[in-house]
């Protein structure tokens, strides 16, 4: 069986995994050979995190067809929960960095999933742009609340306050979350390998979900809500499933992201962050998982590549963004593309062209 004979669905699945694995091997080899600069190798874990975020947001925006502008909120829920879990476990004397990460990631994902579910119940009653604005609002609320959270741990257990660190009433504990200053003293346990594994897990969950009974139901709701209802599909349930799963995956990605730095602040996970993830999804193509992977990786690296022209890099980033969206819709471009296409295809369908002439 040749590659062309496989179902298109299976082909894109294979392609998706292949991209991740090839990228991993390439980066590892290049790194060993010393081709990867310090600043770029510092970006490897964030790239993995953004890939996970883009893939999970694609489940909402591309597969389920709902515009969500609050994905960073769920990322931050995961990140901060993960930091708390890691802080507690370290205090309990857990040594293994891998176990520390796995435990934090699972709890972070669960917390983000639960929040996503709770947010989703009211949100999924709305449609279109109203849904978008409410997800935006929830993202901002989560950020605002986290800005007011003070959490510390000592031998007596976890302490929580919404005023300041002094009101935590701890004798000699560690402060884990310090209001607007965010989480401090995080164990930097995220590595590129862990990142790639998380990417693979995220991709597997999203792809397996997409190509299953539930995934078809989600896509059916996206394509035609009324028709989906008419064949007995519970529309709210499936929109909620997509939203919750995506939130949980964003939570896990948040843990990966947080544990790459020693400090994170709630304001890092603002509206602009959500927009950034949305840009990856739209550029990569709606419902196209490998597209999300490539565009997230590329767009995270792009500002790094533009570092030599530091002052202008965000300006160029903006121009690139506009051009990528606008150019394919310009008449000149469409004409040029048509001309190119006809030139390249001239050799083969000569018969068809003759047939066309005969008809005239």
């Amino acid at each position: 069986m040749s590659f062309k004979n496989i179902k298109p669905q299976t082909r894109s699945t294979i392609l998706t995994y292949a991209i991740v694995i090839v990228a991993f091997i390439a980066v590892t080899v290049l790194d060993a050979a010393g081709f990867i600069s310090n600043s770029l190798s510092g970006q490897l874990v964030p790239i993995c995190a953004y890939v996970c975020l883009a893939v999970s947001l694609n489940l909402v925006v591309g597969v389920s067809g709902e515009l969500s502008l609050g994905h960073a909120g769920f990322m931050s829920v995961g990140a901060f929960t993960g930091v708390i879990v890691a802080g507690c476990l370290t205090r309990l004397g857990l040594e293994s960095e891998l176990l520390l990460f796995v435990a934090s990631a699972i709890v972070g994902a669960l917390a983000a999933g639960v929040i996503g579910f709770l947010v989703g119940i009211p949100v999924m009653r709305l449609r279109g742009d109203y849904l978008a604005i409410v997800t935006l609002a929830f993202g901002e609320i989560i950020k605002n609340l986290l800005n007011n959270f003070y959490i510390g741990v000592d031998d007596a257990g976890l302490h929580f306050s919404m005023q300041d660190t002094a009101s935590l009433g701890m004798q000699q504990g560690t402060i884990l979350i310090n209001g607007p200053k965010g989480a401090v003293g995080i164990d930097k346990v995220s590595t590129f390998v862990i990142g790639i594994v998380l990417v693979l897990i995220t991709v597997a969950i999203v792809l397996n979900l997409m190509h299953s009974r539930d995934g078809r139901a989600i896509m059916a709701v996206r394509d035609n809500r009324i028709a989906a209802e008419s064949v007995g599909i519970n529309v709210t349930k499936y929109r909620l499933i997509a939203f919750t799963v995506a939130s949980a995956l964003a939570g896990a990605a948040g843990v990966l992201y947080a544990m790459n730095y020693s400090t994170i602040t709630p304001s890092q996970f603002d509206f602009n962050q959500s927009i950034l993830i949305l840009v990856y999804v739209v550029l990569g193509g709606m419902g196209n998982i490998w597209g999300s992977i490539i565009s997230a990786a590329f767009l995270t690296v792009l500002p790094e590549l533009l570092r030599p022209i530091n002052d202008y890099r965000m300006l160029i980033y903006a121009v690139v963004l506009i051009l990528v969206m606008v150019v394919p819709h310009l008449k000149i471009y469409q004409r040029a593309a048509d001309a190119l296409r006809s030139r390249f295809s001239k050799a083969t369908p000569a018969v068809a062209a003759e047939g066309g002439e005969a008809d005239e």
Partner: protein, 293 residues
Amino acid sequence: MEVLANLINGMSLGSVYAIIALGYTMVYGIAKMLNFAHGDVIMVGAYICFCAVSYLGIPVIAAVLLSIVGCTVLGIVVERLAYKPLREAPSLNVLITAIGVSYFLQNAALIIMGSDPKSFSSIISLPALQLFDGRLTISATAVLTIAACMIIMVALTLFTGKTKMGKAMRACSEDRDAAQLMGINVNSTISMVFAIGSGLAAIAGVLMCAAYPTLMPTTGSMPGIKAFTAAVLGGIGSIPGAALGGVLLGIIEIFARAYIGTQLADAVVFAVLIVMLLIRPAGLLGKNVSEKV
């Protein structure tokens, strides 16, 4: 007295939101797009006014007019270059383009003006009004802002209701194809809406920076989002809705700041929005359009 002072402050802030929200809602009504760059037009307007006064020494009134003209031109140019080619494209592509424009304006301002905040208070300073034997102080800017908002509302209502262009605008938002078949030039109508919206954004920018006198390249983004929220709260696409939503949002925000805490004010604002939308999914004055089966 404190309640009254807060109410007036809230109405003043709300009027700014309302003026911005009008731009959002009109553009949404006609082009069915969320123009995320709208908030940054406010910032551009404020910068133009600031530069005109402090570098060119133009009188304030002239500077405001200049900034209105500047933003109007900016609005039309952005629409022509970035949005017009995407008339038939999926709405998300337009959204991303708008975000690109927003990044562009912010970073262009950053390069030209630098990241240090400019103090706006040096430009407009009017004496405050003292009422009830000095127990209630109302800043002149607040009065000016509320008055400006009311004038704009009346003018816009008259414009959309009475003039030919206003009617063309309403026809386009109702059904663009049908309007075109009736001989309305849809492209120029959309340009006009962008022009009006951007001109209003310039006014909002000047008024906002007169009340909250720090000007940075990112000044426009948060008020932009709030105004967008206000437009949705009032029912996106509805002009009176935008005004109502804006004023309500401003009042809620000021009261939340005063009685709940500055840190949580934004959370309260957004929570109110969510609750409102759950009760009235199309916003306060929005029409609930159901899909035809």
